[in-house]
């Protein structure tokens, strides 16, 4: 298994859609073959179409607000000593998280395919919120599937979705979280694929959805590359790009331009959800050595039992609370290009406390997992090491959880 240079990672799959010969693919019911083929053709066509790219860039700039800022966290760095900590504040994007990139691109594709309805899944509610925003912007009817448990714990985002005119469909099956929302959304698409477009909220699902999402979020690293060259005159000698990983859409977007660099220069660190300290449950298939399995149409490392039944997961962060992970991250793990670890609920909360104490930044619980890792390693590193954390979501949606766990927000 080897990564090729000068080819986007999203395109390094074989004919059947597998990265490294074993991750990804399209394990789908026959009914979805045609809609997925149509979508694949449409996407191949659009990404080569200059007018479409112009349109995308226009909305990225004028609607999403690209580029999002890259800032140095001076006080936090001084407090910790060691490496410099920087943040790419992707949460400054319209809507408050990176999910807006994928949502906007899907809405544009949906328009171009002449479909009037768009459906999507959501965990933390950001994918749903952004899709509802994009749907409203482009005049599409929108349905969002969301686990009943997540609807309770991420209420602010649900309010936003409804305000944008989207219908939220609560999912009561299984663990009532993201995994069940994705299943239910796929089932809905099976029944309505003739007039409805489906947006998968992360770099997971059948091959084409991994590609579209990765293609959309990679805007983050294109911006970062320019910003680094501006601030440091060239790409610094020792960088660590630290990103939380649930499905892995923000991490891929944050890293995509830097994959060809030597890992001694640009190290990629993914941080999964380790769950509560005292619980056996987690959502960390990569760092806690889950076996390869098939979930939601793709092969990846999956939290599951010996029989292949998908395990329940547990995490304080709804956006990371998913038993599978992007096939692209499995590929990056097995080729050793990226390194994956996890942070527990408690570590993420402590990181949130520390970051908000020293900086004017309000990262949601998802990037707080990444900050936990940065905080852990920075003191041991040299001053010329640049740790950049993708602060990919805003904590407004976590208001209730933070109040409950920390007594304040």
């Amino acid at each position: 298994m080897k990564i090729k240079k000068n080819i986007p990672l999203i395109d390094q799959h074989d004919k059947l859609g597998f990265w490294g010969g074993r991750f990804g693919g399209s394990f789908i019911p026959e009914t979805l073959k045609k809609p997925i083929e149509d979508l694949t053709k449409e996407f191949q066509k659009l990404r080569k179409n200059k007018t479409f790219i112009k349109k995308r860039d226009f909305y990225f700039k004028n609607y999403i607000g690209s580029p999002t800022p890259l800032i140095k966290l001076e006080s936090l760095s001084n407090h910790l000593g060691g490496a410099q900590i920087w943040a790419k504040v992707v949460s400054e994007a319209n809507g408050g998280a990176h999910k807006i990139y994928n949502a906007t691109v899907h809405a544009l594709i949906c328009k171009s395919m002449g479909k009037k309805y768009i459906v999507g899944d959501t965990g933390a509610g950001y994918a749903g919120k952004m899709l509802s925003m994009a749907a409203k912007k482009f005049g599409l009817k929108c349905k969002i599937f969301m686990g009943a448990k997540d609807m309770k714990r991420q209420k602010p985002n649900c309010d936003a979705m409804r305000k944008n005119g989207a219908e939220i469909v609560p999912v009561y099956s299984g663990s009532q979280t993201l995994v069940d929302a994705v299943s239910e959304c796929m089932r809905y698409w099976v029944s309505n694929c003739d007039n409805t477009h489906m947006c998968v909220g992360s770099t997971v699902g059948p091959n084409i959805f991994v590609k579209i999402c990765g293609w959309s979020t990679s805007q983050i690293s294109r911006e970062l590359k320019i910003q680094l060259k501006k601030k440091f005159k060239k790409i610094p000698k020792k960088i660590k790009l630290i990103n939380c990983v649930g499905g892995g859409s923000s991490a891929y977007g944050f890293w995509s331009e830097f994959i060809d660099y030597d890992k001694k220069q640009v190290e990629l660190i993914g941080v999964e959800a380790g769950g509560p300290k005292r619980s056996k449950l987690h959502a960390a298939p990569l760092s806690r050595n889950a076996k390869i399995g098939i979930l939601h149409g793709a092969a990846s490392y999956v939290c599951q039992n010996k029989e292949g039944q998908i395990h329940e997961t547990e995490s304080i962060s709804a956006g990371l609370d998913y038993p599978g992970v992007s096939p692209i991250h499995c590929f990056l793990k097995d080729t050793k290009r990226a390194k994956y670890t996890y942070a527990t609920d408690e570590e993420a909360l402590n990181a949130y406390k520390l970051v908000t104490k020293y900086e004017k930044l309000n990262p949601s619980l998802e990037p707080s997992h990444a900050f936990a890792e940065a905080i852990k390693i920075a003191p041991k590193l040299s001053r010329d090491t640049i740790c950049i954390v993708n602060s990919c979501g805003d904590a407004k949606k976590d208001r209730d959880i933070l109040k409950q766990r920390l007594g304040k927000f």
Binding site: L16, G25, S26, F27, I28, P29, E30, T31, L32, K33, K34, P35, E37, S173, G174, V179, S183, M186, R187, V190, S191, N192, C193, D194, K291, I292, G293, I294, L295, H296, G297, A299, V302, Q304, K306, E307, G308, Q309, I310
Partner: protein, 267 residues
């Protein structure tokens, strides 16, 4: 696989001038013992029995079958129990074809080769793997064929003409036509006439393949599709198990009644 039990079941039904009746139940629903009893009892009327091995993340099943699957998993069904149910069933009804149906991850975790070997040993006649379509299924399907197990492919209203040809060319004795865009158990939203037109397109490609129609088939709708080689009823049966359990009634008797009625409608 000309002389397969599946082929013979269709021949028999054709001889009686009716479609074959295929039932679908979930192994272990609601217990291992009960599901075997149900299977034995309904096989008096069913020509072919499909038995689902339940998965907890089914992306193509509607509410009724999901409920059955969750119930079976909760009551502890394991893949090896599914094989042992088939084994026990085949000891009594050795000529009744059994088709296992499920999702690929279960087979992948068990190991493809081991899974097929185990199917052969327990005398499974056919396999339907919902999320392993053409061409992804090529290798697995040929492994099945080598072990004289029918790999049954599905065709849907969205299947393109060129795919249709390829699927039919690589199919074994039986093909499963999905009546409409839906998960299992949806309400039949397409007219019987339209379904049969699509069905005929498949038959026209190759008359020798047995084509069954499934999804949305109930006591109400079954008669209208009588012209098909076979008809599959699943959700309606699962629903009956659920309601019998709720009413604390005998699931075996109630489900058997339903299957008998279904059979009478197509005689």
């Amino acid at each position: 696989m000309n002389n397969s039990l599946i082929n013979r079941a269709f021949k028999l039904a054709r001889g009686e001038n009716r479609p074959a009746l295929l039932t679908y139940t979930v192994a272990g629903d609601n217990t291992k013992k009960k599901s075997l009893e149900i299977l034995k009892s309904i096989s008096k009327y069913a020509d072919i029995c499909e038995l689902g091995f339940p998965h907890n993340t089914p992306i193509a099943d509607g509410g009724q079958i999901q409920t059955s699957a969750y119930r079976a998993i909760k009551n502890g069904i394991k893949i090896n129990d599914v094989f042992s149910i088939v084994n026990k069933f085949k000891k009594i009804k050795k000529d009744k074809p059994i088709i296992l149906m499920g999702y690929y991850n279960m087979i992948y975790q068990y190991n493809e080769n081991k899974f097929i070997a185990k199917c052969k040993k327990s005398k499974v006649d056919g396999l339907i793997v919902v999320d392993l379509p053409y061409p992804e299924n090529k290798v697995f399907a040929s492994k099945c064929k080598r072990s004289k197990i029918n790999f049954i492919q599905l065709i849907s209203p969205t299947t393109s003409k060129s795919r249709l040809k390829k699927i039919i060319n690589t199919s074994h004795d039986m093909i499963y036509y999905i009546s409409m865009l839906s998960t299992t158990g949806g309400k039949l939203k397409v007219s019987a006439k339209k379904i049969l037109t699509e069905y005929q397109k498949i038959k026209n490609q190759n008359k020798s393949k047995n084509v069954v129609i499934g999804f949305g088939i109930t006591e109400k709708t079954i008669k209208s599709l009588k012209k098909a080689d076979g008809l599959v009823v699943g959700s309606a049966i699962c629903r009956e198990i659920t309601s019998s359990l709720k009413k604390r009634q005998n699931t075996v008797t109630n489900v058997t009644n339903i299957v008998r009625k279904l059979k009478n409608k197509i005689k």
